[in-house]
């Protein structure tokens, strides 16, 4: 039963990635693209966790934690660049 749930989860996340990609390409402003990239990072963390469940492997959570940190820093850096024209002042 967990196998079917994981397969359903993979299907949902692939669809979600497609929708995020549509918003990333469509725009129309830079802020929309930042939101789309942020959501893509969230979805890829979910994908890593689901892969860990599917392969019965608990090692991939370090990757999920690292991706959560790097995604947050990336979003803040994009926003700082939009607001101030510079990242580290």
């Amino acid at each position: 039963m967990i196998d079917y749930a994981v397969m359903f989860g993979f299907g949902c996340l692939v669809l979600a990635f497609g929708l995020n990609l549509w918003r990333l390409l469509r725009g129309p402003t830079v802020g929309d693209r930042i939101v789309a990239l942020d959501t893509m990072v969230i979805n890829s963390i979910a994908l890593i966790v689901l892969t860990g469940i599917a392969t019965n492997n608990a090692v991939s959570f370090e990757a999920a934690l690292l991706l959560a940190m790097v995604g947050f820093i990336g979003t803040v850096a994009y926003c700082k660049f939009q607001l101030r024209g510079d990242i580290i002042e």
Partner: protein, 140 residues
């Protein structure tokens, strides 16, 4: 009599299904909603409920199969819960500045235009730092 293993398997599957559905709904909201201030609303559901559900399902799964208590998932979800409002605030600031520069869309939307700030001044995010602004220190 339902045994505990089956019950835990049902719980794990339910958490994974609910989490993945919320991730999909969040991304669907990102596509469907009209302007950026509303679009910020969708992915927050994907962050808290979607990823939170999948991480709780993962905790339950490793508890079930390997009988280990893994706290890394809790660490990931706590980190995301702390950082999601900060990044949403930054993105909203980017949107406010875009509206001010007139390069954001100005179509009618449920959220409408950002309100004027009360009092004389403008919102703090619009103002450039002044040269002689006193720096806040711990002694104040």
């Amino acid at each position: 009599m339902i045994d505990a293993g089956l019950l835990e398997e049902i719980l794990t599957s339910l958490l994974i299904v609910v989490g993945a559905s919320f991730a999909l709904v969040g991304s669907w909201g990102l596509v469907r909603l009209p302007t950026l201030m509303e679009r910020l609303h969708g992915p927050t559901k994907a962050t808290t409920l979607g990823l939170g559900g999948i991480l709780l399902g993962s905790i339950a799964y490793f508890q079930l199969t390997q009988d280990v208590w893994s706290a890394q998932e809790l660490l990931v979800s706590i980190f995301l819960f702390i950082t999601a409002p900060i990044s949403a605030n930054m993105i909203a600031k980017v949107h406010l500045h875009g509206v001010r520069l007139k390069d954001a869309e100005t179509i009618a939307s449920p959220a409408g235009r950002p309100p004027q700030s009360p009092g004389k001044g403008d919102w703090a995010t619009y103002e450039a730092p002044h040269r002689d602004t006193p720096v806040a220190t711990s002694e104040d």
